[in-house]
């Protein structure tokens, strides 16, 4: 029967060409959307690598004040640590977790070069964000005395630079020495790809990295926030102080990813609904035109359910033609490594899109094909 259906559709290919194009276009739109979803779901399932609950980022800007900035920053750290509401304080650059700022740098080991996110932080960073050290240790101030600057790298950087080898003690780019490794660090949130990253110890005289991450005790509220801002402002006159809750910044980052996906999904949804309505109409018309054939097939031994299956089968065959053309295009993405994504992402997106297309065409065909099943053969033959 499958061969029969293929013949039937193939012999009517000119009449079906627009439907095939419509199914192909729907597949391509779905493939794009599914790829986006698969990538983001895959990213979401990867652990974030740190804890952001009850962590605030206090961004300081010295503005016109250029005198003893480093010392003033040290004093602020000490002041923040003195609050009973604060569990831990860490200093870092403006690219704190969930911020809009990003900093990366090319690093290399032997002939292996990668582009990695670069974070300048102090020895309390891992404690403040509850980052687990996988091997080695998180650097201390004392580690800065050697020839090489101590760094901690994440798992992805370790894999990309050293493969399966141990990274501890290795010198990177002739200036950094790996003292520890951590698992993931996805600073832009759960939807961020797990990228290579390294953490460098902030220098004692550093005047640039002026964001304080503070982990406060649960239940600490805006009253404390106001107090901190007031105290810091009193300590460093003319500086601006801005407080971000990492939980809020995380939501903002998520929205940056989710809003375009939701818009794309809504547009795709409308397109697919249009295609579905079109298919539904075409099938209804086709069944009305083919009442004689339905009557004939019933006379020759088809059951009502058999007629219903035939029409669903025909739309599956049509969808298969459209999908085969679509697969020719979609297969180029993993083959040509487009957007540098894993082939598995594209393969999953293809499978999802194919299933959705078959699902949609089946839904569109269900009602008209059931109607076809109820056509009385004697009446249909007489009409012809």
């Amino acid at each position: 029967m499958i061969r029969h259906l293929f013949k039937l559709i193939w012999n009517k290919k000119k009449a079906h060409i627009l439907l095939i194009v419509e199914i192909w276009a729907s597949f391509m739109v779905l493939f794009g959307l599914a790829t986006l979803l698969v990538v983001n779901v895959g990213n979401y399932r990867e652990p974030l690598g740190f804890s952001y609950e009850n962590v605030w980022a206090i961004s300081l800007s010295n503005n016109q004040d250029t005198t003893e900035v480093a010392q003033k920053l040290q004093q602020i750290v000490q002041r923040l640590k003195a609050y009973s509401e604060v569990e831990s304080v860490s200093r870092m650059g403006g690219n704190f977790p969930f911020s809009a700022t990003q900093m990366n740098e090319g690093i290399g080991y032997n002939k292996q070069h990668i582009l990695a996110d670069h974070y300048v932080t102090d020895e309390d960073f891992a404690k403040t964000l509850a980052i687990a050290v996988v091997s080695g240790k998180w650097y201390q101030s004392a580690d800065s005395v050697g020839k090489y600057r101590p760094i901690v790298i994440n798992q992805k950087a370790r894999e990309d630079l050293f493969g399966g080898q141990n990274a501890l003690g290795k010198v990177i780019s002739d200036k950094y020495k790996v003292v520890g490794t951590i698992a993931n660090f996805k600073a832009k949130g759960e939807f961020m790809a797990n990228k290579p990253a390294y953490f460098e110890l902030v220098g004692a005289n550093d005047a640039w990295n002026s964001t304080m991450l503070i982990k406060v005790k649960p239940g600490t509220d805006a009253v404390f926030e106001a107090k901190v801002v007031k105290d810091v402002a009193r300590m460093v006159k003319g500086w601006s102080v801005e407080v971000d809750y990492l939980t809020d910044s995380r939501k903002t980052q998520h929205n940056l990813v989710l809003v375009p996906i939701i818009i794309a999904a809504i547009i795709s949804g409308f397109l697919l609904i249009n295609v579905a309505l079109g298919l539904f109409g075409v099938l209804n018309l086709s069944i009305a035109r083919r009442r004689g054939e339905i009557g004939l097939r019933r006379a020759l031994g088809a059951t009502g359910n058999g007629i219903s299956r035939q029409f669903i089968g025909e739309i599956w065959v049509l969808a298969t033609f459209g999908l085969l053309i679509g697969l020719l295009f979609a297969a180029q993405f993993p083959l040509l490594n487009v957007f540098n994504m894993e082939a598995g992402v594209y393969v999953t997106a293809i499978v999802v899109s194919v299933l959705v297309i078959y699902g949609i065409v089946t839904l569109c065909a269900l009602f008209p094909s059931r109607q076809a099943a109820y056509i009385q053969p004697a009446v249909a033959l007489h009409e012809e």
């Binding site: 004689g292 019933r298 020759l300 088809a302 053969p377 033959l381």
Partner: protein, 220 residues
């Protein structure tokens, strides 16, 4: 082979009730070639549809090989139509998008016959009706007579015991009509039971028995 007892068929709409068949009693024996005649609208095709299990009588019983079919479900009726009955229609009812051989194969599709034997049987049936040189043609490329011969090949491809022909020569000129009639007589001489609706007295005379209907009632 086919026994109809007290068959009545009434078509009802919200405002009109039409009696299409009234108290028809018929017994078609195995190997018979029976023709049904009567004016247009007298119920000939309705009677043929009831014999072919395409329609149900409003009253009365239909027996096929001694089995009452009233209680049969759709699947069983479809199976009987496929195995025992071959249909030939005045307007041929060929599927224009399928080649001649693919049209003839259709009844075998519903028997789940495999592709190769299906094609072999279809070619054999087309050979019987003298159309083996047209198997790749499409219905639109054939004359009326050739189309009807394809329809006959389709009716006989599954070796049914009964052939029901609804005005098989109605759309053909007399020469073509005679040709079709010769084929039907040949099939009958090979053992097929044939019931044919016709308007043509000369065709009816070539059958074993003539049944006349008038206003849904059997008059002969």
């Amino acid at each position: 082979m086919i026994t109809l007892t007290n068959i009545e068929k009434v078509y009802r709409t919200s405002s009109i009730e039409t009696l299409a068949l009234n108290n028809i009693n018929l017994n078609i024996r195995k190997g018979e070639f029976v023709s049904i005649m009567g004016p247009s609208g007298c119920g000939k095709s309705t009677l043929l549809n009831i014999m072919g299990l395409l329609d149900e009588p409003s009253q009365g019983t239909v027996e096929l090989d001694g089995q009452r079919v009233a209680s049969y479900r759709d699947k069983e009726l479809a199976h009987l139509r496929n195995q025992k009955i071959g249909f030939i229609f005045q307007s041929f009812h060929l599927i224009n998008d399928l080649s001649v051989v693919d049209n003839v194969e259709i009844p075998l599709l519903y028997r789940s016959t495999n592709g190769k034997p299906r094609q072999t049987y279809a070619k054999e049936a087309l050979e019987k009706v003298g159309l083996s040189n047209r198997i790749k043609h499409f219905p639109k490329q054939l004359s009326g007579g050739q189309k009807q011969r394809v329809a006959i090949a389709r009716a006989i491809v599954g070796n049914p015991e009964i052939i029901l022909a609804d005005e098989p020569t109605g759309n053909l000129d007399s020469a073509m009509g005679n040709e079709i009639m010769n084929i039907l007589q040949g099939l009958n001489s090979e053992g097929a039971t044939i019931v044919m609706v016709t308007h043509d007295e000369s065709m009816a005379k070539r059958t074993h028995r003539l049944i006349r209907l008038f206003d849904g009632t059997q008059v002969q």
